[in-house]
Amino acid sequence: MNEFSDLEGELRGLRPAAPSADLTTRVERALTEAPANVATAGVLPRPRAVPVHWLGLGVGLAAAAAFLILARVSVEKPAKQQPTVAVAPSTAPEIETTLPRTLVPDGVTRVVYHTSDDGLVFPRNSEEPVRRLRSRSRETLQWKDPGTGASLRVSYPTEEVELIPVSGQ
């Protein structure tokens, strides 16, 4: 608390005039209609062109093919053991086949777009001040069905308030 706390509270009570809907439309359009030669935000920059070395490419492809063969072999191994492990009732495989394809987690994005430091505050029932930090972010969770390629995305805003105890000096 300081001598201007009341005044600061009154000032915060003033709400900045909302921008016109036209501005929002124009900005949203600009965000989607970026010129082709301009890198767009949110997309990783295009990697620099690398000269093709055919010998290296051939070796790389051979290595990749070898890896795929080995990977296939290692994947098939558990399948051979499956009959010995299958001790569940005979209805279990039927249930598995009737279940719909499940979505598997595909990615999580968390974008913090605003952080602020409220400074020292005195919470109720506390004699010691704490420092209050706020951060607003948007989290996006994404699932994908590997079979069909269908994806599901859920996005929601979050606000985190962190109270950091301040020790007396």
Binding site: F4, L7, E8, E10, L11, R12, G13, L14, R15, P16, A17, A18, P19, S20, D22, L23, T24, R26, V27, E28, A30, L31, T32, A34, V38, A39, T40, A41, G42, V43, L44, P45, G107, V108, T109, R110, V111, V112, Y113, H114, T115, S116, D117, R136, R138, T140, S155, P157
Partner: protein, 167 residues
């Protein structure tokens, strides 16, 4: 976790910041239309340069630079805007929504503050920037930013006391 902003994130970011950005831009050009043009140009520029979405200090610095560039481009316009900023009685659209009579008096007092104090106040109160961020935007020290803020509050308090007594 990835930290790559999607289009949706940018749209949300704009929706969140737009009122404060327009208010900030109006400290340079009092016309709403001009302020919105500045905000649009600055925000798109900020987005195209792939700046981190959470770097609000840089976003405000971009708005400020864009506004100053606009004023420099048109000297006559700059003089006209400077006249308005200097406190002439020209009618401009209110900067705040639905203000009561006392709030209008407060908004008027904010309007009459010296420009350098008012821009710090706008960034601190309505955009919740820290003094460190404000200092980086204006190219001044944190102490200077804090001083300008305190001077602004002191001036507002001084201006409002006679008004409160009348009512």
């Amino acid at each position: 976790m990835e930290n790559v902003a999607t289009h949706e994130d940018w749209k949300n970011c704009f929706a969140e910041a737009a009122p404060g950005l327009v208010l900030f831009a109006r400290q340079f050009v009092r016309s709403v239309a001009d302020a919105e043009d500045i905000v649009q140009e600055a925000f798109v520029k900020f987005w195209r340069k792939q700046h981190p979405i959470e770097n609000r200090a840089l976003l405000f610095a971009t708005v400020r630079t864009t506004a100053l560039d606009l004023l420099r481009r048109d000297a006559r316009r700059a003089r006209r805007e400077a006249d308005v900023v200097a406190g002439s009685e020209q009618s401009v659209a209110p900067q705040f929504d639905g203000a009561s009579e006392s709030q209008q008096a407060l908004a008027g007092a904010v309007d009459r503050l010296p420009a350098e104090q008012r821009e710090v106040l706008v960034m601190k109160i309505w955009n919740e920037l820290t003094f460190a961020e404000i200092a980086s935007i204006l190219g001044i020290s944190q102490n200077t930013a804090a001083s300008r803020y305190r001077y602004a509050l002191a001036a507002l308090k001084k201006n409002l006391i006679p008004h409160e007594r009348v009512f």
